[in-house]
């Protein structure tokens, strides 16, 4: 018998637990030619803010062994631009669409969330309090529990959509942030965002990125992410979306066994656009080979 891959997270039903991560899949149109989007569990679009944002100067991205460091700086057309330019396409998909939002103040997060409330086709909000690449907002909220609480509370007050705060790996105790999210009305949490990092071009003795520092993603951060998902799962009963360095089904299975209900594929899509679909197949094979009848049975199935 085929195992049941379907899950429900934050009230959103998905055909399988494999999503694509914010910022690595644009607005989905970009990959529509090569991937059957209807096979994905969910799509998380690039971070959106209240007003259009131009992001950082170039170079914005540099490859390192086992990953890349990016400092895109959250370039986006603003929430109105997003609704008009990208929702018409996204709305045609039968895959749930989550919008990743960010702001410079708790108020901006809340207004962006409120604007998306009645937009047809938006199924949930991922709240980015963990971007390493902008000075205001972003990480400033994600590394301070009371600032994180302010953002989550402000967004909760203005939206009926499920909200999913996205946590930073750059904290001394992830459990604190998992609990803050639960206490202030989050429906799930996602982790991790990229890890603050820096690369120097030794020939020119200059930073490789125009922004000087950026965020490390890809296989290099996978074990760090697994540990943080494991710890967060001990601290909260909120469903967890695990991500960071997934390039194979085994990488995704580690997150699920550690306690994640769903996973997201990010950087690996650049090297192989089929990664998310291969991960789905691999999870299915694993479940049948190991006698599990559903994906949810495996969540947190770590033996110690």
């Amino acid at each position: 018998m085929k195992p049941d891959l379907a899950i429900e997270i934050a009230g959103i039903r998905m055909r399988n637990p494999v999503m694509v991560a914010s910022g690595t899949f644009g607005y989905a149109e970009e990959y529509a030619d090569v991937i059957d989007l209807s096979r994905l569990g969910a799509i998380v679009v690039k971070g959106i803010s209240l007003k259009p944002w131009s992001g950082n100067p170039i170079p914005r991205l540099v490859e390192v062994p086992g990953g890349l460091v990016n400092a895109i700086g959250l370039q986006n057309p603003g929430v109105e631009g997003f609704i008009h330019q990208h929702m018409p396409f996204l709305r045609t998909l039968d895959t749930p669409v989550l919008v990743n939002i960010w702001g410079r103040t708790a108020q901006e997060y809340a207004e962006t969330a409120a604007r998306l409330n009645d937009v047809e086709g938006v199924r949930g909000l991922e709240i980015n309090i963990s971007c390493p690449n902008i000075k205001e907002g972003g990480l400033a909220f994600g590394t301070n529990p009371s600032a994180a609480a302010d953002v989550i509370r402000a967004v909760r007050a203005r939206t009926r959509l499920p909200i999913i705060p996205k946590l930073s790996p750059n904290v001394s105790d992830i459990r604190v942030f998992a609990r803050v999210a639960a206490e202030h009305g989050a429906d799930a949490i996602s982790l991790i965002n990229s890890y603050p990092a820096m690369v120097i071009d030794v020939e020119r003795r200059r930073p490789a990125l125009a922004n000087v520092t950026g965020g490390l993603s890809g296989p290099a951060i996978h074990p760090i992410a697994v540990k943080l998902v494991y710890e967060a799962a001990q601290a909260t009963r909120l469903p967890i979306i695990g991500m960071g360095g997934i390039s194979t089904a085994r990488d995704a299975l580690e997150f699920i066994i550690a306690g994640a209900s769903a996973v997201a594929v990010g950087t690996a899509t650049f090297g192989d656009p089929m990664t998310a679909l291969n991960v789905i197949e691999g999870i299915e094979t694993y479940l049948s080979d190991h006698g599990f009848s559903s994906a949810s049975e495996l969540v947190g199935a770590l033996e110690q």
């Binding site: 690595t24 899949f25 970009e30 030619d33 690039k46 259009p52 131009s54 490859e63 370039q75 090297g271």
Partner: protein
């Protein structure tokens, strides 16, 4: 755009460059001049990114790339042999416009690997014209006979003076421009380093001609999703970021907003 798992047919050295020929039944027939493929270098397990390479030749069932090994990925690519499996994503980007009014003469300006996309273009333009190619030394003068066989006038400049004029290709272009018949209306197509592209663009703008410039920017996804490869462009709605991989790599000279030395703030209007 296709994702094609294919294999290497051959790899040959050409001066300091390599020509890599790949089987391709889906991408090759769809390629337009100036488009590129995003190639996953095989057996490079710790490299997460593909590498963008322009299409140099395209036939019904195969395509060729012309590249210079300059680093980790392109260095490893030199070890790839006939029969090896390779993944390609393409064709990507907008490519050069190939329609040209009959009174215009195409002028191609190539720096380094820039001859690759321009050679494909030279085969498809409705008129023949002149090619200016610049490289470090005679060893790297690429495809001279191929262009000449197609009926193009080929002029070379080498930085070390081992062949053709010594110096930059733009100096060669300037000499020719000064002495050309006054009724000749050039249309420029260029691919090479930014400094060269900018110089060609400035000459076109001053003369009131058009210049189609193919930019090289560090890429992530290659399909427009990650916003790594952006370039400021002048558009009716203001200064905007264009994605070199999707909106480019070819832009008309007047559209491009070049960075000024010492400029730190790079605001765009949206």
């Amino acid at each position: 755009m296709h994702l094609e798992n294919t294999c290497v047919l051959s790899q040959k050295a050409l001066g300091n460059y390599r020509v890599l020929e790949l089987a391709s039944e889906r991408i090759a027939p769809a390629v337009r001049p100036g488009q590129f493929v995003h190639l996953r270098v095989p057996r490079l397990a710790d490299a997460v990114l593909r590498r963008p390479l322009s299409v140099f030749r395209a036939e019904a069932d195969r395509l060729a790339l012309l590249y210079k090994p300059i680093g980790y990925g392109t260095g490893a690519l030199t070890r790839v042999q006939a029969g090896d499996a390779v993944s390609l994503l393409g064709p990507l980007g907008n490519g050069f416009p190939v329609a040209l009014p009959p009174d215009r003469m195409p002028v191609l300006v190539a720096g380094g690997y820039g001859v690759a996309p321009l050679f494909l273009l030279a085969r498809e333009l409705p008129q023949r014209g002149i090619v200016f190619a610049g490289t470090a030394s005679a060893k790297d003068i690429l495809c001279r006979e191929d262009f000449e066989a197609l009926g193009w006038d080929y002029r070379a400049a080498t930085e070390d003076g081992t062949l053709g004029r010594q110096g930059l290709v733009t100096a060669l272009l300037d000499d020719w421009m000064r002495n050309r018949p006054s009724n000749l209306m050039p249309e420029f197509y260029a691919c090479g380093p930014d400094g060269m592209l900018r110089a060609v663009g400035e000459r076109a703008v001053v003369g009131g001609w058009r210049a189609w410039l193919s930019l090289d920017r560090h890429m992530g996804c290659g399909v427009g999703a990650c916003l790594a490869c952006v370039q400021r462009l002048r558009r009716p709605e203001g200064i905007v970021w264009g994605r070199v991989c999707r909106d480019g790599p070819v832009f008309e000279a007047r559209e491009i907003v070049w960075d000024e030395p010492g400029e730190t703030k790079k605001e765009v209007s949206r």
